[in-house]
Amino acid sequence: MPRRGLMILRLVVNGGNHEADVEPRLLLSDFLRQGLGLTGTHVGCEHGVCGACTILFDGEPARSCIMLAVQADGHAIHTIESLSPDGITLNPLQEAFRDAHGLQCGFCTPGILMTLSAFLRDNPAPSQAEVRDALSANLCRCTGYQHIVEAVTRVTRSPLR
């Protein structure tokens, strides 16, 4: 039994099982960052617009800043930390971001990578317009998006416009 006012949360994060007693009002982003120490998920606006906190919820991109942790009970979450299991080796999309200079301050980058991971899984050969459309779910103040689009193009080997 959880302590009074708390709820039991059981979920799978990056393939590992976790169980915790949490306040019902605890945000999923705070649970991931503070509860599990997965600080790669960033919080930029806390109202679901900027997309920095994007995680995969049962494989689909979702804003962890406008979800309660308890809503994730019984579900599978993937965060930025799952893209590179050893934390050092970059996957092809991450490598392409580095090659194309697709990040500057890097604060929005984890959310963008999560959005694009799901997008490219579902649409492995997108057009430039489709890439920009998918990317419009996330705000970036540094890059002007151009090098991010180029990074995706490097991975998908679509022709540059």
Partner: protein, 778 residues
């Protein structure tokens, strides 16, 4: 013998990216400490009012609340923050410094001004307790409109001043009145140019930990200027500078406001940490960021340009109002930038410029990327467009006739720049850049097609605007370069970094000088324990000033390497080659020694370090330019305007720019892309909208629109390189350039498409729709 350029000017991938891409990079809010307390602030809901009472008793009783502080708890610590940037020595200058206190006292002067600080066991509990604090405010009329603020009966933001004028500055060159008398044509208009939020994706965050045993205070801060923060806080807290360590780890975008020293929260969190002897963290939320983080806003210009019949500028006169918000801790940097940058790349023999800074009941204004430069560029570029139209001269042609020629440098504009040095352009070559931009965008062909472009419901326009950017100003930065025992190189510098790529560009500079791989150079910035002299990252100065210091320190280490290697290898220094992490005697492959071996010999465990030499392969150097270097460029764009919806689509965007010698073209392009996106936001999407009560109406990303990937076009960038003579590598800054002429070029392009007159930025679809309707009614 001299260093070989292998990395400088190459498209080198960034050293810092792996950490950022895997989520390992540490930002301030990622720091977790045992026993950490959390903070929420009670902020003013009124733009202007008498603060009658603040009662935190109920909040103090709430379980989980550790402390509640109001102004009365602060004692001497509650005194106003310092003025950061004293105004330059301009004759007749009037400046009334009025800076904020850590917590409001007597009056509240803007919505969001902190009134009470709550410290609790969690952020959730701290926010709960915000509602427990009783704040009694007697509202006063809010000062919002700039012109109304200066009228006789206006409410006053600061009761002890006679009016809301915060400053008055006049700068003159030549004799404008005489030039006006000689002129064939005068164009005069009123212009408004509004800026907006910096909107770094990372909000501000401060975490402080007081170690009672060591009597040391560690502060993690999302600041662009860790060293001045350390020095100022140590002094204010009565600690030695060696007792205070400020760390700005990875910072999620700066764009100016993260160098506002000292924010109330930056003063209070360390103070409370010492008082409570517990680590304390405050993380700003996005709504707070809109109210409590400094911003830039509007200027109102009454400007005129006097010209000859053939389009030569005889002079410019400009009178403007500048909104400084409720306090003016950052001095006059922004309006002086406006005043200076208005002169652009042009030969302006006579200039008369006067501004009044105005206190209003709005968030404090401090520089945001561009820092007033775009306001000035907008005014002069618009005046040139209007003059071109009136004189029947092509827009590009009138610019060509007025550009400073390559033989005019250094060019002294005879007025004072924000760095307290005369406004002198170091070098430039403006005409080829303009011609290249016009050719790339197909300007001549577009002009020929003007009639077709202006027909139908989707009308096409072309805009082309020039700018200069004063960059790389002093006072100085420093760097320490060390060859470690592993043979790898460590570089420490004092500037903060917020995504510019300093970890890589400084490594490139040092790697070339020391002949090592760029991956083997580890750069440390933003930690006062590592390097404790410096000012910060602002005014597009990181690469030019700190980069030059890295170069100087590396050159000095290279001398030590060569001297030691010469003695070890028994060869003349001029026969030595420093490359591949080794020193070798040219033409004798077996006479070679690695930097690692040399580092060990330079720091022996036995024997003696000879008099007059120092142990180790390490040097510290500083670079302080007398004045900044002036970057320049031209932006051209093609827009398509739907006359029925007033939506504008940018079809092409061309940037031809010159930031002197380029360390890394890939990163420079990144700076430009981001700047253009910010500039397009400023031109069409972003505006901080205040109502007549001083309430900000769009304080969320739902209502304040940052451009997305579908709003920003691909940007075609061409680099030109006119080296600066003011630093050894020939660098000029580029951080702000992308957003400086964007509004001017956008206005011109839309004007060209619709054949209407545009005097205000930002436009928005509804503002543009009204302009289209008005034109149709005429």
């Amino acid at each position: 013998m001299s260093p070989e350029a292998r990395y400088v000017n190459a498209r080198v991938r960034r050293n810092e990216d792996a950490r950022l891409l895997t989520g390992r990079a540490r930002f301030v809010d990622d720091v977790q400490l045992p026993g950490l307390l959390h903070v929420a602030f009670v902020r003013s809901e009124h733009a202007h009012g008498r603060l009658i009472k603040v009662d935190g008793a109920a909040a103090r009783r709430r379980p989980g609340v550790v402390a509640v502080y109001t102004f009365d708890d602060l004692g001497e610590y509650g005194r106003p923050a310092p003025v950061l940037v004293p105004p330059p020595p301009i004759s007749g200058l009037v400046f009334h410094p009025r800076t904020h206190r850590p917590l409001a006292s007597g009056k509240v002067r803007y919505v969001g001004e902190p009134i009470a600080m709550i410290v609790a066991e969690s952020r959730y509990l701290a926010e709960d307790a915000v509602r427990d604090v009783i704040v009694d405010v007697d509202p006063l009329d809010a000062v919002v409109d700039l012109e109304a603020a200066l009228t006789a009966g206006a409410a006053r933001v600061h009761d002890d001043l006679e009016s809301n004028a915060a400053a008055h500055v006049v700068q003159r060159k030549g004799d404008y009145a005489a030039a006006r008398d000689r002129a064939d044509v005068i164009v005069a208009r009123r212009f408004t140019y509004d800026r907006g939020a910096a909107a770094a994706l990372e909000n501000r965050c401060v975490l402080a930990q007081w170690d009672r045993q060591a009597e040391e205070l560690t502060i993690w801060d999302t600041t662009q200027a860790p060293i001045p923060i350390r020095n100022g806080l140590a002094s204010r807290l009565g600690l030695s500078e060696s007792q205070v360590r400020v760390v700005a780890p990875f910072v999620g975008g700066g764009f100016g406001p993260k160098i506002m020293m000292f924010y109330p929260e930056e003063l209070l969190v360390p103070w409370a940490s010492i008082r409570l002897a517990r680590p304390i963290k405050w993380t700003e939320d996005r709504q707070e960021n809109f109210f409590a983080t400094t911003q830039e806003r509007g200027q109102l210009h009454d400007a005129e340009m006097a010209l000859t019949r053939d389009g030569r500028i005889l002079g410019i006169r400009d009178t403007f109002l500048f909104d400084t918000g409720a306090y003016d801790p950052y001095g006059l940097t922004i309006p002086i930038n406006t005043q200076c940058t208005l002169l652009g790349p042009y030969d302006v023999p006579n200039y008369s410029s006067e501004f009044t800074a105005v206190f209003t009941n709005k968030t404090i204004v401090t520089p945001v990327r561009g820092a007033g430069r775009q306001h000035g560029v907008f005014v002069s570029e618009r005046l040139l467009d209007l003059a071109a139209r009136e004189l029947g001269i092509d827009r590009v042609e009138i610019r060509k006739r007025n550009l400073l020629g390559p033989d005019r440098f250094p060019h002294n504009h005879e007025i004072m720049f924000q760095d307290s040095a005369p406004l002198v352009y170091d070098s430039g070559d403006y005409l080829p850049a303009l011609e290249q931009a016009a050719a790339t965008i197909g300007y001549a062909e577009l002009v020929r097609q003007q009639a077709q472009r202006r027909s139908g419901t989707r009308r096409v326009g072309v805009g082309i605007a020039c700018y200069v950017e004063g960059t790389g100003i002093g006072p100085y930065e420093g760097a320490r370069v060390t060859v470690e025992l592993s043979g790898k190189v460590r570089v420490a510098t004092g500037v903060g970094t917020q995504g510019q790529g300093h970890y890589t560009v400084f490594a490139q500079v040092v790697a070339d000088v020391l002949g090592v791989s760029v991956e083997d150079v580890q750069v440390i910035t933003g930690d006062t324990r590592e390097f404790q002299w410096g000012t910060g990252t602002f005014a597009s100065r990181g690469a030019a000033v700190a980069g030059s210091a890295c170069h100087a320190a590396a050159m000095s280490v290279r001398e030590k390497i060569v001297a030691l290697a010469a003695s070890v290898l028994g060869a003349e220094p001029d026969r030595l080659e420093v490359a591949g992490g080794r020193v070798s005697v040219r033409g004798a492959a077996d006479r070679t020694i690695s930097l690692a071996q040399l580092a060990a010999r330079a720091n022996p465990l036995r024997g003696a370090v000879r008099p007059g030499t120092e142990p180790g392969l390490e040097s510290t150097a500083y670079f302080g330019p007398d004045r900044g270097s002036t970057a320049s460029g031209v932006h051209a764009m093609i827009v398509e305007v739907d006359v029925e919806t007033a939506m504008v689509e940018v079809k092409r965007y061309v940037v031809v720019h010159d930031c002197g010698r380029i360390i890394n073209p890939l990163l420079v392009e990144g700076q430009i892309h981001g700047g253009v996106a910010h500039g397009l936001g400023n031109a069409f999407y972003e505006q901080l909208v205040y109502d007549e009560q001083g309430q900000l109406l769009n304080a969320s990303f739902m209502d304040y629109l940052l451009p997305t990937a579908t709003d920003v076009p691909p940007i075609e960038t061409a680099h030109r390189e006119t080296p600066s003579p003011f630093n050894p590598i020939g660098l000029k800054g580029v951080g702000e350039a992308g957003c400086i002429p964007t509004g001017a070029a956008f206005a011109q392009a839309v004007e060209d498409a619709l054949n209407i007159e545009i005097l205000d930025i930002p436009l928005s679809p509804d503002r543009l729709f009204r302009l289209i309707q008005q034109a149709a009614d005429r």
